[in-house]
Amino acid sequence: MDIYLLEAIINGILLGGVLALLALGLNLIFGVIDVVWIAYADIVMCGMYVVYWLYVELHWPLALACAAGIVGTAGLGVLVHLLIIQPILGSAPINQLLATGGLLFFLQSFATLIFGTEFRNLGIRLPIIELGDIFISYARLLAFAVALVGAVALYLFLKRTYIGTAIRAIAQDRDIVGLMGVDQRRVYLVTSAIGGALAGLAACLLSLQYDVHPFIGNTFGPLIFMICVLGGLGDMIGGFIAAFVISQIIAIAGYYTNTELSYVLAFTFFIVLMFVRPRGIFSR
C-alpha cells in the first residue's frame, strides 16, 4: 500500500478520536435532554480561547489552563441549559435548536469582539514521531489517547455512579424516571455540565493542533452533527463509530482530492445515508 495513503488513514483515525469525543458530548445532551445544541462547536471554540488566554496572555501552566478551560466550558454548559434551554423545554424541539443557533451567533461575534479575527495559537510545537516512513504528529496521538480515556471515563461514570444511572434512565424514558424519584432538573444540569466539559476537553486537545479563531466552530461543527445523526441521535456507541467512519472518508478522500472535496463527499455520504437509514447506521 502507498505509504502516504497509510499515513492519511492513520491521521484519520487520530482525528476520529477527537470527533468521537465531541459526538459523545452532543449525543449525551441529545439523548438525555432531547435538544440539539447547534452551538456545540462554538462552546469548543470558547474553551480554546480560555486555554489560549490563560496560557499565552496570563502565563499559567498549560495543565492548569486546560483544567480551567474544561471547568469553564462545563460552567458554560450549565448556563446554556439554565438560560436558554430550560425556559423553552416544553416547546417544539426545532425552537430549541434555533435558540442555540442564536447562541452560535452570539458566541462567534462575542469572541470576535474580544479577540478579533486573527488566528492565534499556543506556540507549542510538539515533536513528530517517525515510524519507518510514516510521520505521525505527537499532538494528534496525544489527542487520540486522551479522547479514548475521556470516552472510557464517561462510560464508567454512566455505568457505575448513581447519577450516571439516572442519566441513562432518563434517556430511556423521561416520564417514568420522575416517578422513580429522580430529580430531573438536577440530572439535566449535570448532563449539560458533562457535555460542556467534554467540549472543553476537546478544546484542549484541538488547541494543541489548530489555531483558534472565532469561526473555527463553523469548520467542524456541521461535521459533529452529521456524525451524531449518522450514529443515530442519542446513540453514543453509534456516534463513536460514526466519528471514525466520517474521519476516514475525509482522510482518504482528502488524500486523493483536496480538503473541500473530501468534506463534500462526507456530507453527501451523510445525506445519502439519511435516506437509506433515516434513524442512523445502526438502527434496526
Binding site: 462567534q108 478579533g116 456541521p222
Partner: protein, 329 residues
Amino acid sequence: MRARDLTLAAGLAVLGTVPLFAPPYFMHLLIQILLWGFIYTAWSMMGRFGFVSLGHGAFMGVGAYVPALLWNYWAVTPWIGIPLGVALAVLLALVIGYPCFRLRVLGHYFALVTLALSQVVMLSITAARDITGGSLGMTQRAVGQSWYALQFPDKRYFYAISLALWLVGLAVWRMIDRGIGREALEAISEDEEAAAAVGIDVMREKLRVTVISAALTALGGAIFGQYLMYLNPETVSGIAVSLQIVFAAIVGGMYAMLGPTVGAFITILLNEGLRVAFATNFIGAANTIYGVLLILCIIFMPRGIMGLLDRVRVRRVAKVAHHEGSAKA
C-alpha cells in the same frame, strides 16, 4: 377593506417615488431590505408549515453562481442563466425534498440534512476554485449599463427590480395563503397521518411548497449577485447564510405575510446602525446583540414581531367586544 386598499396604494406610491429623491446609500439599504425580505419570505413559505430548512443557502448559492459563471465563461445572458440557475436549484430541492418527505425525515433530521446540503454547495463552490475563484470570490465581467447583461450601475434600476421581485414574493405568499394548499399544509404540519387519512396528497403539497420556496430563493440570490457584482461562497451560501435566513424570518415573524420583510428591515437597520455607531472598533458588536435578540425572540415571542403585533391587536379587539357586550347587558 377600502381603508386597507388606500393604505396599500399610499405605501406603494411612497415606495415608487423614493428613488426620485433618496441618496445612493439609502437606496442601497432599501435594495438590500427588499431583496433579503424577498428571500426571507420565500423561506417562510416552508418555515411556517414546520419545514425548517437550513439549506436555503444552497439554493441561493446555486441561483447566484450559475448565471455569473455562464456569463463570465460563455457570455450567456443572465436572461438565460438565471432560469437555468433556478431550474438547478429546483432540481436540488426535489432531489433532497422527495426522499426526505418519502422517508419522513422531519424536525431535527430535516434541519440537519438540509444543513448538510448547504455545506455541500458551499464547499463545492470553494473547491472549484479554478473557475469560481474559491473563497476569494468572483466578480461578473462588467459591461456597464446593459439590459442584456442585466447590469445597472444606476441603483434606481435595481431598486425597481427588487421592488417588483418583493411584490411578486408577497403575491406568491398570498396565493399560497388563500389557496386550498394552505389548509392541507397546516393539516400536514399538525398531523401527517391524519392529513393523509382525509385524502390530502401529502407528498404533492409538501413538494410544491418546497419547489416554490427554493425557486424564489434562487431567483433572489441571482438578482442579489447581479446587484452586488461580487459573489463569495461565504456570503451567498453555506451555514452562515442559511442561519441568517432562518433567524431574520423568525425575528420578523414567519407566520405573517410582512413578517419576513420586517425581519429584513430590522436586521439590516440594526447591522448598519451598530456599524455606524461603533465604527470598526467593534467588529462583532452587531452580531453579539443580534444573537442575544434571537435567543430572546425564540424564548419570549416565537411568532416574531408580527406575531406579537397580531396578539396585541386580537387582545384589543377582544377588549372592545367585551366592552360592547357589557354595555348591552
